[in-house]
Amino acid sequence: MGKQLINTLTGGDKLTLSRVLTQVENNTAAGNAALEELFPHTGNAHLIGITGAPGCGKSTLVNCLALNLRQSQDVQTKPRVGIIAVDPTSPFTGGALLGDRVRMRDLSGDEGIFIRSMATRGALGGLAHTTAAFTQVLDAASYDIILIETVGAGQSEVEIARLAHTVIVVEAPGMGDDIQAIKAGILEIADILVVNKADKPGAENNARALRTMLEMAHSPGSYAPSRKHLLSSSPDKSVVTDVQNNEKKWTPPVITTVATEEKGFNELLQAIEDHHNYLKSSGEWEQREQANLQLEFEILIRDTLTMRWIEKLPPSVYESTMRDLYQRKIAPHTAVEKLLAYNK
C-alpha cells in the first residue's frame, strides 16, 4: 500500500478499501501503516450509532435509513454512506455468522454505499476492538455518513456512545416492560429514540413511556445521568457543566417508525440533521471527537504496554504463576504483582 493510498480510496477503489479494512481488522503492520497514512484525512464523517435489543429491527432500520439518506438529497450533495454492521463472535466456537446484510439487500448496486460486516472477536460492549479504526478508514475514503450497527445484546452497549456523534436507540413494542428500558441503561446514551414496528399494538404506550422518562431525566437541575458522564473522567464536573449549559441542552426526540414500510423516516432524517447542527453549534462535536480519540489512545497504550511486557516475560514464569493461581495458592492480585515484579 503505497503513499497514494488516500487517492486510491477517495477515487472509489472498493477492492483496495475492502483489503485495507481486512488488514486493519487483523491488526497487521500493513493495516497500521494504512491507518497512519489515512489518519490526517479523517474527522469529517458524521458517525451515527444504531443500537437496541435483538429483534427490534436495527438492520432493517439501517437499510431504510441508508436508502432515505441516498434519496432525500439532490445529486450534488448526496451523502456517501458507509455501514459497519457488528455481530457477535461465538464465545464457544470462535466462529461468527454475520447476518445483518440479509436485511440490507435494497442497498445493493448503489455505488455510494459500502457495507462491511464485523465480528466482535471477543470484545464486549457491542462493538469490535477495531470498529473505531474502521470508521477512520471509511471517513478517509470520503464516506460522509457512517452508520454503525451494534451487536444489540442490550445492557452493555455503551461503547457506541463513545464512538458515535449521534446515537440512535431503537426500541420495539412487546419486548419487555418499561422497566427493561430503564434498566438497560441505554436510554442515557440515546441522542434520538426510535420506537420501531409502530404498527404493532403498544407502540404508542411505548413512545409515551419513553417521553415521560426523558422529561424526568432532562428536567432542569436533574441529576439523572446524561451521556456526558461517559465522555468525561470527572462526572461531578460534567453535571455542573450541564446545568450551566442548560439552554443549549439537547433533549432526545422520540420518533415512531415502521422500517419495513419506510414510515417515519422523514422525521428521523430531520432529527439526525437537527442533532448534527446542535453538536456543531454547541461545541459538543469537538468534545466528543476528543473524548473518542482519548479513549482510543488509552486502550491502545494499555494493550501495547501489556503486549510488550508479556513479550519480555519467560513463558515458564507465566505458567508457574498461573498454576499457583489455579491451585489457589495466590490471589489474582498477588499473581499480577508477582509477575510485574519479575520484570523489574
Binding site: S18, R101, G109
Partner: protein, 100 residues
C-alpha cells in the same frame, strides 16, 4: 462467515464478496440455473479483481454438470447429504489455514 440471505443476483453476490474481502464464496443453488449463474458470478468476481476467490457450490446439481462447473473455475461441488465436516475440511485445505 457472512450470510447474504436467499435469492441474490450474481451482481449482489459479487458486490458482497468485494465489500467483505472474502476468501471463499459458497453458493447454494436449488433452482437448476447453476450452469448459467455460477460462471456469471465467477466472471464478476474476476472483473472486480477478485479472481483468487474460491467458489464452492452446493445444491441439487446433476452429476453430468459437475465437470463443466469445475471447468468454469469452481473449486468443489457438493450434492445433498454431504457431511458438513467434509466441507469445512475442504475449505481449510483450500485456504491452507490450520484449523483453530
Amino acid at each position: 462467515m457472512i450470510y447474504t440471505g436467499l435469492r441474490q443476483t450474481p451482481e449482489m453476490i459479487a458486490e458482497t464478496a468485494l465489500q467483505e474481502d472474502v476468501d471463499i464464496v459458497g453458493l447454494s443453488i436449488l433452482s437448476g440455473a447453476h450452469n448459467v449463474l455460477v460462471p456469471q458470478i465467477i466472471e464478476k468476481l474476476k472483473q472486480n479483481g477478485q479472481g483468487e476467490v474460491l467458489v464452492f457450490v452446493g445444491g441439487i446439481i446433476p452429476k453430468k454438470d459437475i465437470p463443466d462447473l469445475l471447468h468454469a473455475g469452481v473449486t468443489a461441488v457438493y450434492g445433498p447429504g454431504t457431511n458438513t465436516h467434509q466441507i469445512s475440511e475442504d475449505i481449510i485445505k483450500a485456504t491452507q489455514r490450520p484449523p483453530k
